[in-house]
Amino acid sequence: MSEELYPIEVEVNGVQRTARVPARLSLVDWLREDLRLTGTHVGCEHGICGACSVMLDGEPVRSCLMFAFQANGHRVTTVEGLAQPDGSMSVLQDSFCQAHALQCGYCTPGMLIAAQGLLNTNPRPTDLQIREAIGGNLCRCTGYQQIVDAVKQAASRLSKETAS
């Protein structure tokens, strides 16, 4: 079946990407299947699990609840875009390792995007604010406590970096 293709131009992790996509292609499928940015995970595909979270113009959204063409003209950041320019892990990503904040790793990209979204607007979050920020992301391994610890650790490390 041939479906009409719509031209799109999207900035993904700082790189301008152009494509022609069917209207019903979800943003997460475009990122994973076409751009091969498989860091973003696809879980429930109906907006419940949060694994597919990406930043749209700097704010966390669910990429399964958007069609790729809706990102046309916008800026998308995936978990790959959180790493440092040399490819090494960001302070937040490293804090996840230090605090044992992941086991199977399926929810991790969504958790990182949610937590980064929080730290971008609130560099010194309380435990409650951290829990609220990751409240839309399901983790079936950790029990969440280590994830909260990791975000706290990252906030503290980042504030020391800023101070020094």
Binding site: M1, E3, E4, Y6, P22, A23, R24, S26, D29, C44, E45, H46, G47, G50, S53, L56, E59, P60, V61, R62, C64, L65, M66, F67, F69, Q70, N72, G73, A114, G117, L118, E132, A133, G135, G136
Partner: protein, 292 residues
């Protein structure tokens, strides 16, 4: 979990959106934030012929303070409204309700108008619209008309919006009384899930501490969000003692006709409704009272 094929059109203006609706009618679904519509399309509960995208219409994104109301453009993001301090001061119930709407990721995308026209009987914003008596401005190629909340919500996921109309803005009444308090609460399996029962109240006190104005309502208790203007009137003139609050809350629950589902029986919903209605009226009273 992939949507069925559809034709896509991105409208650049309200006029253009109305023309598509006029031409294609029932075959069109308007997508704003898509936080309810896109999952329904993924599950193929909805298979629109046309998807009309209004996300790029700048004229549908605004918060405007009028004398007696706050006007919000249909495609204004929920997170934008949530962060608006002036709006929080003028329509505090709206801000309180938004904290219960989904999660940060969905509020960054979800819109005020989308939630209103989706008209889920468990949803928070339709309940606030019903309690405060919000007015919906509907536009077609021919004209614009304004519909009051009590006439707007006609059933589960059904509204008075005609197939050729697009919601343009929602007008939220701002109460002028200085000692006004409000409260919103709900019970769900997990925070951010659909509410089994939700409750909202707003009331004002006079200088002598007596209630001079009251409104409250319940979500998840029927085919549409419910408001109880006659019961609220019984609160006016009282000092909102526990007995009158409990009696009014009990009567509201008794007047409702909730259904049973996997998560809650009708009897449990009715029990919750009585408890939560009393709780929001008391909390709104306490907030109003703190503005001595």
């Amino acid at each position: 979990m992939k949507a069925a094929p559809f034709e896509y059109v991105r409208a650049g203006s309200i006029g253009e959106a109305c023309e598509v609706l006029q031409r294609e009618g029932d075959a069109v679904k308007v997508v704003a934030g898509g936080q309810s519509l896109i999952p329904m399309m993924a599950m193929r509960l909805v298979r629109p012929g046309w998807l009309l995208d209004i996300n790029e219409i700048a004229a549908l994104k605004f918060v405007a303070m009028d004398k007696d109301a706050v006007r919000i453009g249909a495609c204004t993001r929920q997170s934008t409204v949530e962060r608006d301090q002036e709006l929080a001061a003028r329509v505090p119930l709206l801000r309180q309700a938004l904290a219960w709407v989904g999660h940060i990721q969905t509020r960054n995308r979800g819109t005020i108008g989308g939630s209103i026209v989706h008209a889920d009987p468990c949803a928070e914003l339709p309940l606030v619209a019903r309690v405060l008596g919000a007015r919906m401005v509907l536009r077609s190629t021919a004209a614009a008309r304004t519909v009051e909340a009590d006439a707007f919500f006609s059933g589960p996921m059904m509204t008075a919006t005609d197939a050729n109309e697009c919601l343009e803005e929602v007008q939220w009444p701002a109460w002028g009384e200085r000692r006004t308090g409000s409260a919103f609460t709900e019970i769900s399996n997990r925070h951010g899930d659909f509410a089994m029962v939700s409750a909202a109240a707003q009331l004002s006190l006079g200088d002598d501490g007596r209630c001079v104005r009251a409104a409250f309502g319940l979500g998840g208790m029927g085919q549409t969000p419910l408001a109880f203007p006659q019961l609220a009137q019984r609160l006016v003139g009282t000092r909102l003692e526990d007995e009158i609050v409990k009696s009014v809350a009990h009567d509201a629950a008794a007047q409702s006709d909730p259904g049973s589902d996997l998560f809650a029986t009708a009897a449990y919903r009715r029990h919750l409704a009585g408890v939560l209605a009393a709780r929001v009226i008391s909390a709104a009273h306490a907030q109003a009272g703190s503005k001595g």
